[in-house]
């Protein structure tokens, strides 16, 4: 037996870097959040073209998810993994590349999103060059992490490490497959998926981004930092194992609950609902496990801000994971979908669970990383109370706003007509709640500023040179027959305990669980003909309409307007015939939206004359006096690039959109010019500005006038099913 001990040092410098980045980007992301919250209450705060709600909202979500939460995850993972594995990170160079690469991605997002460069898929807005960079940086992180596991000196992989493994593997899979797109320019691409298939892929990604970026890695952090802070082992290690596997098995299926009552096949939606409801159990099991870790230490919660933050974080996790399954139930979802209720739900998770766990973790880390006392415990306590109060204010306001919206949209009067037929009535009702939300969010940010001050002052009190304790641990001796010779290695020995220590086997099985579940859920939508019945009258967008659609994406219109009318009476009364899957078969990407700050636009085509749209886009309040929509003066000066339109049509044709002879040289641009002239002439004839035939406004108007028009044509009734399946 080799009794020689290895000596090594942990790399805490990289942890310090990620920690500071967490604060900086957290503050930036939350300030952008506050700005867009205020833009809803004061539309004049929109500064077109770069600082409008539609362009800034993705910046806010990306910043808080990938910049704030992302850097927080890396802070915790780099700190805890080295200690749990008793090994320094595999490569300081890879750690540095990971850190700087990730910051570069964030800066790229901060530049491109206000410029309107977007794929328009929620939390996957970043365009293809940045997506490639994300994949590269993620692989660097993965290599560094897995190689650290490989050279570890602790045989058993603690449950936190499992959560990290699952997160790293699954995020890679989600990112790659949801972002598959054909580039149509340096910062423009079209998703390879269309319509309902794209929607399924997006929400498979979207929900699992919440699961494997905002939940499982944070659970790993909880299972490490909560015992550390409480100085007690986790309440039940067995329960943590169950917690892990149930999440891995179930989470991946839950995505379709984001698409209830849409044109997604009903079976997929039901499957998403069932798994979502089942998720409640393991989530609460894990939450209770976290809280009970404080058994016997509850008295310390009174004096210890770290424990206070952790208790509220886990409580918020439990609240959010109770509410999530509830929202996934179709009848509840019918009320909540498209409303601010979902925003409130997300913020309970983000502000409470992710935010408070991060604050608690960093307050615990500060004295350890800066090797001095925390500057002020009192200030940390103040941060806790201000942030808690801010969060309550925020949530109360937005939950009320969501319920108000949902109930007003579905209200009928005694004569059987919509009680609030004018959408703006429901918007105006929310104003006090928007203000209250901004106040709550503002208070949360005040807390973050106190947090930053505490970090700064603690950093200032650091020693001149950081002490780097030399750690000694016995190297891991590989017992014959325990090597990862096959993925079934552990199963043939003494079950789970054995292969917990076999990282390759463990990782393979996690990947298998995620991939198999994904395939079972996704493949039928792609491979069964009757899931997307085609509609004969639905034709591809004209080249000019396609250009208009690109502008619709650039301006982020989908952040406020859905294009999916649900088959519910109050929806069809308000917007018209419900949306069919066959209507969006040429939509690369789908633009169904997930929120209605403004009305649905699925049947917008032909509803108003061209001139109405021109006035509306130039000055929304000139046609809808209380509208909170930003103006888009840039559309009247921005010039259409007809050559670029031709290229985009060609890319769409590559994706299978039947453009026929329009793909021949010069034809798409000629068609676009002709249609643009017709619309520009109509605008001029109705008293509008002259000479708009090469301006962006005509393309956007063309697109809006096309929405939902095809299905009204007489041949639309020829909806057919696959002859193979016994259709006609």
């Amino acid at each position: 037996m080799n009794t020689q001990l290895d000596s090594f040092k942990y790399d805490d410098a990289i942890v310090r870097k990620f920690m500071v980045a967490t604060f900086v980007w957290g503050l930036v992301g939350m300030l952008v959040g506050l700005l867009i919250a205020l833009q809803l209450a004061v539309p004049a705060l929109n500064v077109p073209p770069y600082l409008t709600f539609g362009r800034l909202r993705p910046l806010h979500t990306n910043a808080v998810i990938f910049a704030f939460a992302g850097n927080a995850i890396f802070t915790g993972i780099y700190y805890s993994s080295q200690r749990l594995l008793k090994a320094r990170m595999f490569s300081d160079l890879l750690s540095a590349l990971h850190f700087w690469g990730w910051q570069l991605i964030i800066v790229s997002a901060a530049i491109t999103l206000p410029l309107g460069l977007t794929q328009s898929k929620e939390y996957a807005e970043l365009e293809w060059p940045i997506d490639i960079l994300i994949a590269v940086v993620w692989v660097i992180f993965a290599v560094n992490f897995f190689m650290t596991i490989a050279k570890r000196r602790e045989k058993h992989l603690y449950v936190a490490i499992w959560f990290y493994i699952a997160s790293i593997i699954t995020v890679a899979i989600l990112h790659i497959f949801n972002n598959l797109a054909i580039p149509a320019g340096p910062f423009k691409s079209y998703s390879i998926y269309a319509g309902a298939q794209d929607a399924l892929m997006q929400w498979w990604y979207g929900h699992n981004a919440v699961a494997f970026f905002l939940t499982t890695p944070f659970l790993g952090l909880m299972y490490y930092f909560m015992p550390k802070a409480a100085n007690k082992p986790v309440f039940s290690y067995r329960l943590s194992i169950l917690h892990f596997w149930t999440l891995v098995f179930m989470y991946i299926w839950a995505g379709p609950h984001h698409l209830h009552y849409t044109a997604l096949p009903e079976w997929a939606s039901t499957l998403g609902m069932i798994f979502s409801v089942m998720l409640w159990m393991p989530s609460w099991g894990g939450g209770i496990n976290g809280l009970l870790t404080l058994r016997g230490a509850w008295s310390r919660v009174v004096d210890d801000p770290v424990l206070k933050f952790f208790v509220v974080a886990v409580t918020a996790y439990m609240m959010a994971t109770f509410e999530g399954p509830m929202l996934s139930i179709k009848s509840v979802n019918a009320l909540a979908h498209y409303t601010d209720w979902v925003i409130a739900h997300v913020h309970t998770g983000a502000l409470g669970w992710n935010g408070f766990l991060t604050f608690g973790m960093i307050y615990w880390l500060l004295p350890r990383l800066y090797q001095t006392k925390l500057h002020s415990t009192k200030l940390a306590e103040t941060h806790f109370w201000i942030a808690t109060f801010g969060m309550i204010l925020y949530s109360t306001a937005i939950y009320s706003a969501g319920a108000t919206q949902g109930l007003m949209w579905r209200a009928f009067d005694q004569s059987g007509h919509l009680q609030y037929p004018d959408f703006i009535e429901t918007t105006m009702k929310l104003m006090p709640m928007y203000w209250m939300r901004a106040l709550g969010g503002g208070l949360y940010i005040v807390g973050v500023l106190l947090f930053g001050y505490n970090i700064l002052r603690t950093w200032q009190a650091r020693p001149k040179v950081y002490e780097e304790p030399v750690i000694q641990a016995a190297p891991l001796v590989r017992v014959r027959g325990e090597g990862p010779s096959s993925v079934f290695a552990g199963l043939t020995k003494s079950g789970h305990r054995k292969w917990e220590g076999l990282p390759i086997v463990f990782t393979v099985w996690v990947a298998v669980a995620v991939i198999v579940a994904s395939l079972f859920e996704i493949l039928p939508t792609f491979l069964l003909k009757d899931t997307i019945p085609t509609i004969a009258s639905v034709k591809p967008y004209t080249p000019l309409e396609l250009a208009g659609r690109d502008l619709y994406q650039r301006e982020g219109c989908f952040n406020c307007h859905s294009q999916m009318i649900r088959p519910l009476r109050y929806e069809t009364e308000r917007y018209g015939e419900y949306s069919k899957a066959g209507e969006s078969v040429y939509d690369h990407p789908f633009l169904w939206g997930s929120r209605r700050i403004g009305p649905d636009l699925a049947r917008e085509g032909g509803k108003y004359p061209n001139m109405w749209h021109v006035n509306h886009l130039r000055d929304p309040r000139s046609v809808t006096p209380k509208s909170i929509m930003p103006p888009y003066p840039g559309l009247f000066t921005g010039t259409l690039n007809f050559d670029e339109i031709e290229g985009h049509v060609g890319t769409m044709a590559m994706l299978g959109v039947p453009y026929g002879e329009l793909t021949e040289k010069g034809k798409a641009s000629a068609a676009a010019k002709a249609q643009a002239k017709t619309i520009a002439d109509d605008i001029a004839a109705n008293g509008g500005p002259q000479g708009l035939e090469d301006k962006e406004i005509v393309a956007l108007v063309a697109y809006l006038q096309r929405l939902g028009v095809d299905i009204k044509k007489t041949e639309a009734v020829a909806q057919h099913r696959s002859p193979l399946l016994g259709g006609f």
């Binding site: 805890s80 200690r83 749990l84 008793k86 602790e154 058993h156 603690y158 449950v159 936190a160 299972y223 490490y224 015992p227 550390k228 100085n231 007690k232 082992p233 986790v234 290690y237 067995r238 194992i241 169950l242 596997w245 149930t246 098995f249 179930m250 299926w253 079976w267 997929a268 499957l271 069932i274 798994f275 004295p367 350890r368 304790p469 750690i471 079950g495 789970h496 305990r497 917990e500 669980a513 198999v516 579940a517 079972f520 859920e521 493949l523 039928p524 792609f526 491979l527 069964l528 003909k529 009757d530 696959s722 193979l724 399946l725």
Partner: protein
């Protein structure tokens, strides 16, 4: 004939339901394995890993 035609014809519409049952079975196996009575000692040892990863003296200094 395309892959879509073949798969559509194969009647694999209950794909997902079968997978769901398989997943639940796999979960049941893990649950039973985890709660085997013989595991307690090893589980308790594993649970203590986060508490044993820092030199005790250093932790004492920070906490004091």
């Amino acid at each position: 004939m395309h892959l879509v035609d073949i798969v559509s014809h194969a009647g694999m519409g209950i794909f997902a339901e079968i997978a769901m049952i398989l997943f639940l079975l796999a979960f049941a196996v893990i649950a039973i394995a985890t709660y085997r009575p013989g595991n307690r000692g090893a589980m308790d040892a594993a649970a203590r890993l986060p508490l044993e990863d820092e030199p005790a003296q250093r932790e004492e200094e920070i906490r004091s």
